[in-house]
Amino acid sequence: MIGLAHYLVLSSLLFGLGLFGVLTRRNAVAILMGIELMLNAANVNFVAFTRFVDPTFVRGHIAALVVITLAACEAVVGLALVINAYRHLETVNVDQVDLLKG
């Protein structure tokens, strides 16, 4: 029987993977992908808790939908920043974007 613990273990692994990506990648877009993985891990938790702990009001689903919307906003703004940085500095590696004046 698959219980809550299975989902929590899976989501913690996914979160760890995402964090690893954020910490080790140089490319800004790749860092963004790591953040998406971490957000997804959190969402799995929200939906799993809704199912196993608090199913009558779908509060966790609401939280998950809010997170998905925020993820979309964050991706849009982040990618706009990446495009802008690339236009000025011709690189998207975060360790090379070190100018205060563009």
Binding site: M1, I2, G3, L4, A5, H6, Y7, V9, L10, S12, L13, L14, F15, G16, L17, L19, F20, G21, L23, T24, R25, R26, N27, V29, A30, L32, M33, E36, L37, N40, N43, V44, V47, A48, R51, F52, D54, P55, T56, F57, V58, H61, A64, L65, V66, I68, T69, A72, C73, A75, V76, V77, L79, A80, V82, I83, N84, Y86, V92, N93
Partner: protein
């Protein structure tokens, strides 16, 4: 092993394998395309958890929009050159230790709690329940989110616009 366990382990393998490729692949386009199985696997988990509406939104927004956007930007900024430059910084060992410690810490906590079986049945009509919750008790969250969307829309256009 019953059908649910089989489905869960298949999806878990899909999510973790895809996620591993996203984080480790040296080719950025491969990493971005690997997001697709990962996010679809998460959508599959939502199906197992009786969250049909979240599943559909996950596929629509994450797979259909965010991944496409990421892929788009990678193709614009890297083209076919993603392979040549070094993709990882010097923090790999440190990051490995940190992430490993974090995951072990989380396991140490969550495996000690005696989680019970499902606490009750889900509401019958899922999208309707979500919609009602959004517009009755959580209307403030709903409005704030729409404001955030508007702000990020305007912000993204202003930032990405080419200056004349």
């Amino acid at each position: 092993m019953n059908a649910e366990a089989l489905a869960f382990y298949t999806l878990a393998a899909m999510v973790l394998a895809g996620g591993g490729l996203v984080v480790l692949s040296r080719n950025l386009v491969h990493a971005a395309v690997s997001l697709v199985p990962t996010l679809l696997g998460v959508a599959g988990l939502y199906v197992l958890l009786h969250a049909e509406f979240v599943t559909a939104i996950q596929i629509l927004i994450y797979v259909g929009a965010i991944t496409v956007l990421i892929l788009f930007v990678i193709l614009l900024t890297e083209g076919a050159t993603g392979l040549r430059v070094r993709q990882r910084n010097e923090q790999v060992p440190l990051a490995f230790v940190v992430c490993g410690a974090l995951v072990l810490l989380l396991w140490g906590v969550l495996l000690r709690v005696p989680w019970g079986p499902p606490a009750g049945p889900m509401p019958a009509y899922n999208p309707g329940a979500v919609g009602r919750s959004f517009l009755l008790p959580y209307v403030l969250a709903f409005e704030v989110i729409s404001l955030v969307i508007l702000a990020s829309l305007v912000g993204a256009i202003v930032i990405a616009r080419r200056e004349e």
